[in-house]
Amino acid sequence: MSESIRLLPVKEETVKAFSLAKGEITRKATEVALERSPKKGIERTNLKEKYDKGLQMVGQILEAVICVGEKALLQDQLDWGKTRLPHEGISPEEVLENLKIYRATIREVLEEKYSSEILPYLDFLITGQDRITRNKG
């Protein structure tokens, strides 16, 4: 259950490090997400733009939420995405996969002392999105 993941506001230097690296993280995560996407032909139309926009938003939300440590804000975003994103042509499974890619990219780009503070936030999102994916039927 995602509720059991405890979230603490991160240190100011971690926020700064993430803010500086956010663009690079989004760019790399978008590249990997595109490579891994099984979508073909017409389904790939605007996919780069969609993934880029979506992962930029993940970065913006994370940047804000890690300052305040409020997981209710992350849950609200998950609920919003559950309703809205299918209408943007993004399935719950894609969201889950891209969140996992974003998590891996944070580990790759940021120093461990920073990423270790931020990853619990991604874990909360991933756990919650996994639940949405499994319960969507």
């Binding site: 940047e63 804000a64 305040v68 209710a72 804000l73 809205r84 209408h87």
Partner: protein, 232 residues
């Protein structure tokens, strides 16, 4: 249903249910691209002495919330959402002769959105509710840089700052603005009230960003301000 609508058009809205029904009719009219019809509904309600606060809550606020839900579930487009919001802003401005005629109580509010926040209707509604309560208000609107907000507070010597935010990713900007205000000698003591979706979702968030208070809507913002300013 049609009969009910006719009744609403032709009789005084006297209770909450009829106010809510009027709100639904207002939105339905806007979604038919009939902003003149929506305007007439509101002006007629004013003529029939529907309190302005109730017009704001049951017509403007409720319809805006529903518009958000309709867009989220893809039942209306972004263009329709923008049309309805712009129409509502226009209709609100027609009520200003009534709103600005209230007796003043010698208090001044600055209402604003932080830099990056483009959803301004909430802040505008808050400012209008304070006007209705007799405050003078200075409404800064959307996407206002922190430096400008602080300069405004310095020059106006406001009693209260109200900050409205809709998008979660602007929470850091709210926190930073409040921190900058508290670090500025000339304005550090000003009372700060926050509101908007993220604060409704996370009940202790207002404390985390170091505001003095929180209100879930415009009406309760006025009540919260009275409590805040009465305390030492």
């Amino acid at each position: 249903m049609n009969r009910l609508k006719e009744d609403l058009r032709d009789s005084d809205p006297v209770d909450i249910e009829s106010y809510k029904e009027l709100g639904r009719l207002y939105l339905e009219t806007l979604l038919k691209n009939d902003r003149h019809g929506a305007n007439n509904l509101v002006l007629k309600a004013v003529e029939r002495d529907m309190p302005l606060q109730d017009i704001y809550i049951y017509i403007f606020q409720e319809s805006q919330h529903e518009i958000g839900r309709l867009w989220e579930s893809n039942r209306i487009t972004v263009a329709q959402e923008h049309y309805c919001t712009a129409a509502t802003q226009n209709i609100m401005s027609q009520l200003y002769p009534y709103i600005f005629s209230t007796k003043k109580i010698g208090r001044l509010l600055v209402a604003t959105c932080v830099g990056g926040e483009l959803h301004e209707l909430g802040a505008r509604m808050v400012a209008d509710f304070f006007e209705m309560a007799g405050w003078d208000t200075y409404y800064l609107g959307a996407n206002t840089p922190s430096e400008s907000i602080i300069k405004t507070l310095e020059s106006l010597k406001a009693d209260l700052l109200a900050i409205s935010v809709s998008m979660t990713f602007n929470i850091a900007a709210v926190k930073n603005l409040i921190s900058e205000i508290r670090a500025t000698e000339t304005v550090k003591g000003i009372r700060i009230l926050v509101g908007g979706r993220p604060f409704n979702v996370a009940e202790d968030l207002w404390r985390t960003v170091k505001a003095d208070g929180f209100a879930p809507d415009a009406k309760r913002a006025v009540e919260a301000a009275e409590v805040l300013l009465a305390s030492p």
